[in-house]
Symmetry: C2
Subunit: 130 residues, 2 copies
């Protein structure tokens, strides 16, 4: 709890009850929740929290680098609490997102692009449960 407060302070985010609850839900998540999923979780402990606050807080946490916004599901943004580089595997049947450790794929040289400076990259795998 105190750790969470400090984590927000360290990132220049003024801690409030609502922000702590959103951070708790999103950062502790084992998967890749959408904003509305975080809202649903947060409501159980913080029954008056509003959708706008959850959206604002997630955007704030992402902007401050505590979460990563990802485009991995059609039509929705998901938030990823895992900050270390990793890849993703999408279950083609369900859309579920699974983390793949960075080292389990070896990417060789990426040819220099004539017009772009590449800042980062990831592999998106798609697969089916065996």
């Amino acid at each position: 709890m105190q750790d969470l407060i400090n984590m927000l302070r360290d990132h220049k985010i003024q801690p409030t009850a609502q922000r702590l609850e959103v951070a708790r839900c999103a950062l502790a998540s084992e998967d890749h929740p959408t904003a509305d999923e975080v809202l649903a979780m947060a409501l159980s402990r913080c029954p008056t929290i509003s959708r706008a606050t959850v959206y604002n807080t997630l955007n704030l946490l992402a902007e401050k680098g505590l979460l990563v916004r990802r485009t991995l599901r059609e039509g929705v943004t998901v938030f990823d609490p895992r900050l270390e580089a990793h890849h993703h595997l999408i279950d083609t049947e369900t859309g579920e997102i699974h983390d793949i450790p960075w080292d389990s794929v070896v990417v060789g040289d990426i040819a220099e692009h004539p017009e772009f400076e590449v800042l980062d990259y990831e592999i998106v795998l798609r697969g089916r449960r065996k």
Copy 2:
């Protein structure tokens, strides 16, 4: 024109004026249009075409393998007329999507996943104009 008709027939899609127009716009596109972008293009030649028809037709073309649906832009689905395997580079400033030839990146072995059979994959690069 006749080629387009045959292409649809070959894929068991009954050609109609609207479908031909949607196919023309989407398949000839040099980029990765959204459904609403295709609608805007189609309207100039086919002024009464409806949004529902464009959405239905794009979904049909994707289902029949003439287009690929991709999740590369936040909140929207884009359609990709390039069927050969390739990667994508996203301009972090604008969100623009650029194709990257398959061979310009060498991906080594992908570790066998214990629970999933990997069907395909691609690299998503993010970068900034130099």
